[in-house]
């Protein structure tokens, strides 16, 4: 009875749990991924008798993963990832996640690790490096940002293997293009993305060195935006920048301001640092329409190309760059007088001057231009009626357009008008020529051409050869100090000009003796004096043979040697001594 009851209870208990008996063999429900295997008859689908869960059993279903392991690719090919069950823990229910992301999410925080069981006493953590692809920089994102169906290379293969593309982590290649669209549209196909781009950010492309291309960047090119040279194109996927095939010639990007005149080798003159900085050592300005010569050669470019423009309209005209030094007085082209070797000296020579209204002759040929062409305030030119562009004219200008060409227009009249009454139509040239002012022009005989007789004092004899200043007084102009030679007030008497060498010995009581009584303008000597006629002591006998000095001694009076004429004794004893006085037989002349 008791045994029957015992059996009944036992069977009852077992019966009550009959529907769950098979479950008693399992330590827990399988995860949803393996739900199809959740049967007591399916234990050995995963477990191997006496060995537990083996990778072979797992890989019998996970064939795709098995292929990667066989190929030595990916995380699971590593020797320390061979035990499936140590990471993918099972029998913890349908909701249990087979893959542990540290915090139970596929978007773990920074520094996440996947815990693995102790193995040999040492903890092992999942490290994405172990997959063969290290997550660096911007790649530390949520898993599904990369592991998504759209990034899987051969989805049909995984689908055929029963994989859920939204859950699997398989199927991604490590090439950038697996996840990223190629923004270069295959232009860089021969290079890996990583050669230029780092993983922190797509830009800047730290690994890219433009110098390694066929067009090294330097100067201003180095700071130019990429799109400054590389054009942006658009296709159905959006905008992209064309790099390959970008032309490298300057003119491909830059307009040629020289319109091809200087050739296509811009670098021969220009550096990339600055277009305006021209390597003058290399630039041949002679290739331009304005070859540099003379003083133009050493100039800085900016002296002419100040505005940065190398196109100078009217460059053939000097006035384009230079102010008109002559303020519009001259109509001739600058080059007629000046050249590029310097504004001065001017090429305007005497021959050129001869073509003017005032040919230079004689001394005028040696006079510096400035002596006649004085520098005056330019405004004075306006007052003279010269059309001057005052905004570009210099402050002062030499006067080239002279109103008249008379001597006194330039020269001060040293005669202060005292000669005007005696000048003919020739004016100053009546007496002077251009050779020298100081020497009045004379005739072929040496006479002055001026009719001195018109002054009331005809020049006779030696007076004809005497220079004017011998008779006319020189003075200085009151203000200018110029030498003045006035003809007014000149004496017409002999003693007005000449000294009396006789110190008045020959003067008469009724008045001065006319010098002409003894002397003529032809010369002081020979004197016209006749000792028999003009003196009281005619010379006779030995007196006629005696030397003048014998009777007219020379004495010094007031420091001057004077021949003594008067008074002299006329008696013999006045001159002669008795023999006893002289000790001679004939006596002698007293001294």
């Amino acid at each position: 009875m008791r045994a029957l009851l015992l059996a009944t209870v036992m069977l009852g208990v077992i019966g009550l749990a009959a529907d769950r008996l098979s479950a008693q063999l399992s330590p827990g429900e399988l995860s949803s991924a393996h739900a199809a295997l959740d049967s007591s008859r399916a234990c050995l689908e995963c477990h191997e008798k006496g060995k537990g869960v083996t990778a072979q059993r797992c890989l019998s279903c996970h064939g795709v993963l098995g292929e990667r392991i066989a190929a030595g690719a990916g995380l699971h090919a590593r020797s320390d990832y061979q035990r499936c069950e140590t990471c993918h823990i099972e029998h913890h229910g349908r909701e249990f996640e087979l893959i542990w992301w540290g915090k139970g999410t596929e978007s773990p925080p920074e520094g996440w690790q996947m815990e693995r069981p102790p193995d040999g006493g040492q903890s092992i953590y999942f490290d994405h490096d172990d997959t063969g692809y290290s997550l660096l920089g911007a790649h530390r994102v949520a898993c599904r940002d990369c592991h998504r169906a759209s990034h899987i290379e051969e989805p049909e293969k995984l689908i055929a293997a029963g994989k859920d593309l939204d859950r699997t982590f398989l199927g991604l290649a490590t090439e950038c293009a697996t996840c990223h669209q190629d923004p270069h549209r295959g232009q860089m196909a021969t290079r890996g993305c990583a050669e230029c781009h780092g993983q922190d950010a797509w830009q800047p492309a730290a690994g890219f060195d433009h110098d390694q291309t066929a067009f090294a960047l330097d100067g201003r090119h180095a700071s130019t935006e990429c799109t400054g040279c590389h054009v942006t194109e658009t296709d159905e996927a959006g905008d992209w920048i064309r790099y390959a095939g970008t032309p490298t010639a300057c003119a491909d990007c830059h307009d040629d301001p020289h319109r091809g005149r200087l050739g296509r080798d811009c670098a021969a003159c220009h550096a990339t640092a600055d277009w305006r900085r021209v390597d003058r050592g290399r630039f041949d300005h002679d290739l331009t329409r304005f070859p540099l010569r003379g003083r133009h050669r050493p100039l800085d470019c900016a002296s002419c190309h100040a505005a940065g423009s190398f196109r100078i309209a009217g460059h053939e005209r000097c006035a384009t760059c230079h102010a008109d030094e002559h303020s519009g007085q001259l109509r001739a082209a600058c080059s007629e007088c000046h050249d590029v070797d310097g504004f001065v000296p001017s090429g305007f020579d005497l021959d050129d001057h001869a073509a003017t209204d005032f040919p230079l002759e004689a001394a005028h040929r040696t006079v510096p231009c400035a002596d006649c062409h004085a520098r005056v305030p330019t405004s004075d030119l306006v007052a003279r009626g010269v059309a001057v562009a005052m905004d570009s004219a210099p402050a002062t200008t030499r006067v080239f357009r002279l109103d008249a060409a008379g001597c006194v227009d330039c020269h001060l009249d040293p005669h202060a008008g005292t000669a005007d009454a005696f000048l003919g139509e020739a004016g100053c040239e009546t007496c002077h020529d251009g050779a020298s002012w100081r020497v009045a022009e004379r005739t072929a005989t040496g006479e002055i051409r001026f009719d001195h007789g018109a002054t009331g004092f005809d020049l006779e004899g030696a007076h004809r050869t005497v220079v004017c200043v011998e008779c006319h007084e020189l003075s200085s102009a009151p203000v200018t100090g110029d030498v003045m030679l006035s003809f007014q007030g000149a004496s017409t008497t002999c003693w007005g000009c000449h000294q009396d060498p006789h110190l008045g010995q020959v003067a008469r009581p009724e008045g001065p003796v006319s010098c002409r009584d003894c002397h003529s303008p032809e010369g002081w000597t020979p004197s016209l004096f006749d000792h028999g006629r003009d003196s009281v002591f005619p010379l006779e006998g030995a007196h006629a043979r005696a030397a003048c000095e014998a009777c007219h001694p020379t004495e010094t009076v007031e420091g001057r040697d004077v021949v003594l004429y008067k008074p002299l004794p006329t008696a013999c004893s006045g001159c002669h001594r008795a023999p006893e006085e002289t000790g001679t037989a004939s006596g002698g002349v007293a001294r």
């Binding site: 008693q24 063999l25 429900e29 234990c43 477990h47 008798k49 823990i89 913890h92 229910g93």
Partner: protein, 284 residues
């Protein structure tokens, strides 16, 4: 022998329960972690059922549960009688019945619900019924060897105790009747089993007070005999209560096996299956 047995038993309890307690403390954080999070716990690979510790707990528990069968064998296989009395074997049986489930509890990492509940709760039922059985066992008068006494033997013991109280301690016969009435007071053998056991235990406390009062009210007992008198009074009262419930307890105890054994069989059955599956699936 009994002293050695008690010393060994105390040592086993201290050792067994100490080990269980130590590992329970060590794995407390793991055991209190929600089941779905446990695989991520740092102690998972030690304290999970198949872990380094967990597997040892299972082996220890299974070994203890297996050794428990020694008691059953002792009761049924005569040659084992030489290896000590049944009562001593029962003590070890109870020890193993306490520590074994505790190790199995650690082995299960307290994952007692769900799919594997049947095997666990079978073990729990066996253990708890063992506690009940132990209680019932104690309520049935037994010889010193632990053999169950017959009703005549019990009644003879009761008569002997009444005679001792009268002759040895000078207690009047009516006082013995009074003691028997006090001992049986409040005890109704016809009550439902669980209620009977509960009220019996409650009445036991009340009876202890009544017996103390009874002992003190009989000052005629010489002081030197008072301690022995009190023991005799208590023994007489306990025997009277057991005599009153004897037929009911004996009947219940015999049917208790119907509760204890099926679960034990189920438990062993699942244990064997469990071990077999563990071996087959490569865990052992």
């Amino acid at each position: 022998m009994w002293n050695l047995h008690r010393l060994l038993l105390v040592s086993l309890y201290l050792g067994g329960l100490g080990v269980v307690a130590a590992f329970a403390v060590q794995g407390f954080d793991y055991y209190t972690t929600p089941l779905i999070e446990r695989p991520r716990h740092e102690l998972y690979w030690s304290f999970k059922p198949g872990g380094t510790h967990g597997l040892r707990f299972g082996i220890a528990g299974a070994a203890m549960m297996t050794l428990m069968l020694g008691y059953t064998l002792r009761k049924r296989w005569r040659p084992l009688r030489r290896l000590g009395p049944v009562r001593m074997w029962l003590d070890y049986h109870i020890f193993l019945g306490i520590c074994g489930p505790l190790f199995i509890l650690l082995h299960s990492s307290f994952k007692v619900g769900g799919l594997v509940s049947l095997s666990f709760w079978s073990m729990a039922a066996v253990a708890l019924s063992g506690v009940l059985g132990r209680y019932l066992y104690r309520q049935i008068p037994r010889s010193r060897a632990g053999d169950e006494l017959s009703l005549a033997e019990v009644e003879a013991q009761d008569g002997e105790l009444s005679r001792q109280l009268v002759q040895s301690f000078g207690l009047p016969p009516e006082a013995v009747v009074e003691l028997e009435t006090a001992a049986e007071s409040g005890l109704d053998p016809d009550r439902p089993l669980l209620w009977l056991l509960f009220t019996n235990q409650i009445d036991a406390f009340r009876m202890r007070r009544r017996l103390r009062y009874f002992s003190r009210s009989h000052a005629e007992v010489e002081p030197r005999l008072r301690r022995r008198f009190e023991l005799a009074v208590a023994r007489k009262a306990r025997l009277r209560r057991r005599l009153l419930m004897w037929s009911r307890l004996r009947q219940i105890f015999h049917y208790w096996h119907v509760l204890h054994k099926p679960f034990a069989i189920i438990m062993y059955l699942f244990m064997v299956v469990h071990i077999g599956v563990a071996w087959m699936t490569g865990y052992v």
